[in-house]
Symmetry: C2
Subunit: 402 residues, 2 copies
Amino acid sequence: MKKYTILIIALFVCVGAFAQEIGNFMGREPIVSPEIGKETITFRFSAPYADDVKLTGGFAPLQKVETSFGTMDMPGNIDMVKGENSLWSVTVPMPEPELYTYSFIVDGVSVNDPNNIFMQRDGTRYLSVLLVPGELTENYFEANERGNLNQVWYDSPTLGMTRRLFVYTPYGYADSKDKYPVLYLLHGAGGDEDAWSTMGRTCQILDNLIEKGLAKPMICVMPNGNPTQYAARTLMIDEKPVDRNNPEMGMMGNLYPKSIVEDIVPFIEKTYKVDARPKSRAIAGLSMGGGHTITTSLMYPGFFDYICPLSMGIGMRFGNDNTDQEEIMKNYETQFKALKKEGYKLYFLACGDTDFLFESAKTLDKMLTDTGCEHTFYVTPGGHTWSNWRIYLNTFAPLLFK
Amino acid sequence: MKKYTILIIALFVCVGAFAQEIGNFMGREPIVSPEIGKETITFRFSAPYADDVKLTGGFAPLQKVETSFGTMDMPGNIDMVKGENSLWSVTVPMPEPELYTYSFIVDGVSVNDPNNIFMQRDGTRYLSVLLVPGELTENYFEANERGNLNQVWYDSPTLGMTRRLFVYTPYGYADSKDKYPVLYLLHGAGGDEDAWSTMGRTCQILDNLIEKGLAKPMICVMPNGNPTQYAARTLMIDEKPVDRNNPEMGMMGNLYPKSIVEDIVPFIEKTYKVDARPKSRAIAGLSMGGGHTITTSLMYPGFFDYICPLSMGIGMRFGNDNTDQEEIMKNYETQFKALKKEGYKLYFLACGDTDFLFESAKTLDKMLTDTGCEHTFYVTPGGHTWSNWRIYLNTFAPLLFK
C-alpha cells in the first residue's frame, strides 16, 4: 500500500502549498503550542528576528491598568526566552481550570499562536484559546451525545430585515416526536449571533447538562442583538441604512425586544418542534442582552416563565447622565408589579461582585424585593467576563422548565 | 436619549476590555485595513518596534520558489512603509476580482490583519481574506435569498463513530413541500467539513445561482473526508484510535466511500426532504475529495447520476512508486465500463492546466473516452487552488438535476 502513503504525503504537501497560497511556510518544523503537561503548560513561538517576545492571556498575573473607568486589574505580560532555532518559549504553572484566551506580543505586536488551531472571535478580534481541564470546565468539552447547531435566516418585519440567528437542537431532536422548550439566549454589546456558541460554549454546556440528566432537553435560540445588523459582520452584507436618531432602533430601544417576541418566537415555534407555552419559554442574556432580557420580560409580562438577566441591572448612571432616576424607578415599579401579577416560575439574576454593573444589579435585586418579585440573586466573584457567563449558563440551565 | 448613548459607549468599552481579557489594546485608534478604493487597495498595520513589515497574499506578484516538487511560482512579498504613529502601509493596484488570502510579515513573523474581521481557516492555519468585487466573484457575496447552514451529527456504523457534517438547505426549504435533490460535496486533504462553506463560499455560490434561476434549489451535504476524524479539529474530541495499518481506513481506502453511500446518504434521505433517486444525487469533490468522488461512483455505479471530480485523476505515480500501473488501469477499465452500463447523466471532470495532478486528470479523461463514458473535461488556467474550486462549483452546479 506504499502507493497510497506516497500519494497522501504528496497531497498534503501540495494542497497545503497551493491552497494556502502563501509561500513562506514550506519546510517548517512542526511546533507544539500550547503543550499541556501534568503541572505546567508550555507555549512556543518561532520568531527569528524578534528582539522581544511575550505571552499574555487570561491566566497571566494581573497588573494595574489606568482606564477612563478608573484603575483596573488586567492580565500582564510573561517574558518568553529565545532558544535553539529561534524558538521562543515559556513554561508556566498549570492555571486554574478555565477557558482562557491568549496571544503573543512580538516586538509590541499582538500575534495569535499559529500552532494552535483553537481560536475564537470576540467582536472583531481573534484570539488563541486554551482550555484547561478540570471540574469547572468539565462541561466545556464536547459531550458524548451532541446536539446540532444551525445558522438560520428569518424575517423580522419589526426591524424590516431578513436576519440570522443560531439554533441549537439537542441530541435526539430529529428522531423525537416531543415538543421542546426553548431558551432564548442573548449576547452583549460587541457580540453577535456567533458569540454564545463560541465564547459561551453553549452547545457543549447544554449537551453535557442534558446528557448527565441535569437539564431538560431544550432548544436554544441565539439571535443577533444589534438591531441594525442582518448578521455577524463576518458575512459581507451591507447593513441597512437605519434612522440612527430613532432611539427605538438603538441597542437599548424597544424595537429589538419587540422583534424577539413578535418575530423570532413565532418563527421558532412555527419552524421547530416547540412547546409554545410560557412555561416552556426562557429568556436570558448577558450585559446588553441582560438589558434586552429585562426589557422584553417587562414589555411582555407572562410571556416567558423563566427570566435570567446576567451581569446587568437597572438604574445605571454614567458621566453627565441627568435623567430623572426617580421617575425611571417609578416606572420600573409599575412594570415589575405587573410582571409579578402575570406570574413566572424563575427570575435568576446573576452578577460578579467586581463587575462595573454590580451596583445596577443590586438596584435590580432591591427592586425585585421591593415589588415582591420572588427571585434569585446569584453573586459570583469576578467581573464582566465570559468566564462568569459560562458559569451562569451552566448554573441556570438546570433550573429551567422544571 | 443621552442616557442610552452614554450607556452604550460604556458597554462597548467595558465589555471589550473585560471580555477580551487582554490589556494591551486600550486606547487604540481605529485602523482601516484593507481599504478598498476605486483602483487601489490600501493595507495598514500598526507595528511601532518592527524593522521590516511586508505584505504577502494571493494577489502579490509571483516569484520562483524551490520545493521538493521542483520550482514553483509562489506569491512574493510587497514592502510596506512606516508612516506616522508607526503605522505601516502600502497601496497596491486593484487586483483582478478574486477571493484572496493574505498576511503581513513582521520581522519575519507571519501575522494576520487585526483590523480585518474577515478571516478563514485553511487546515490548521488562519489567514485574512480580501474579496475583490467583480464579475468572477459576483456569486461569492451574499445573495438576497439565503439558505441555512447546519452543523449536524450523524452515526457512521461503517467507521464506528458519530461524525459531523455540514448541510446547506436552500432558501424556502423549511416552508416547502418539495423533495430536494442533494449534492454531496467533498473536501481535499488537510480540509474538513468546514472547508467548502468557508473557503469554497458554497452557501453564497448556491444561493446566488438558485436566486438567479441558474441552478435548481438543492441541498448540499459537506461531510468530513478524514476517516479517522469525528469532526474538524477545532472541536476538542479525541480521535478514535484506529488501525493505521488498515489501508481501508486510510484517506484513499474504501471505507470512507462506503460510509458515504451506506451511512451518510441514508441519514440525509431520512432526515431531510429529499428526492431519494439517483437522478437527484450528485457527488463532487476536490483533490482527495475528487479521489473519493471517483472511487465512490465506481464502487456504486448507478447510485449517483452526477459525478464531478475536481483537480484529480487516476494513475498518479510519485517517487519510487512501482505499483503495476497496467493492472490498475485494467481494473479501472472494467469499473468504468460498469459505470457506463449502469448509466449517469453527467461526468464533469475539471482541472487546472498547471495543476500537479493535471497529467492524472488527462489519464482519467482518456480512460473515460476509451471506455465510451460520455463526459466533460473542463480545463482552466491555474493550479490546485481554491480559486479554481470555487469556479468549478459555480460552473457545474447549474448543470445538476436537469
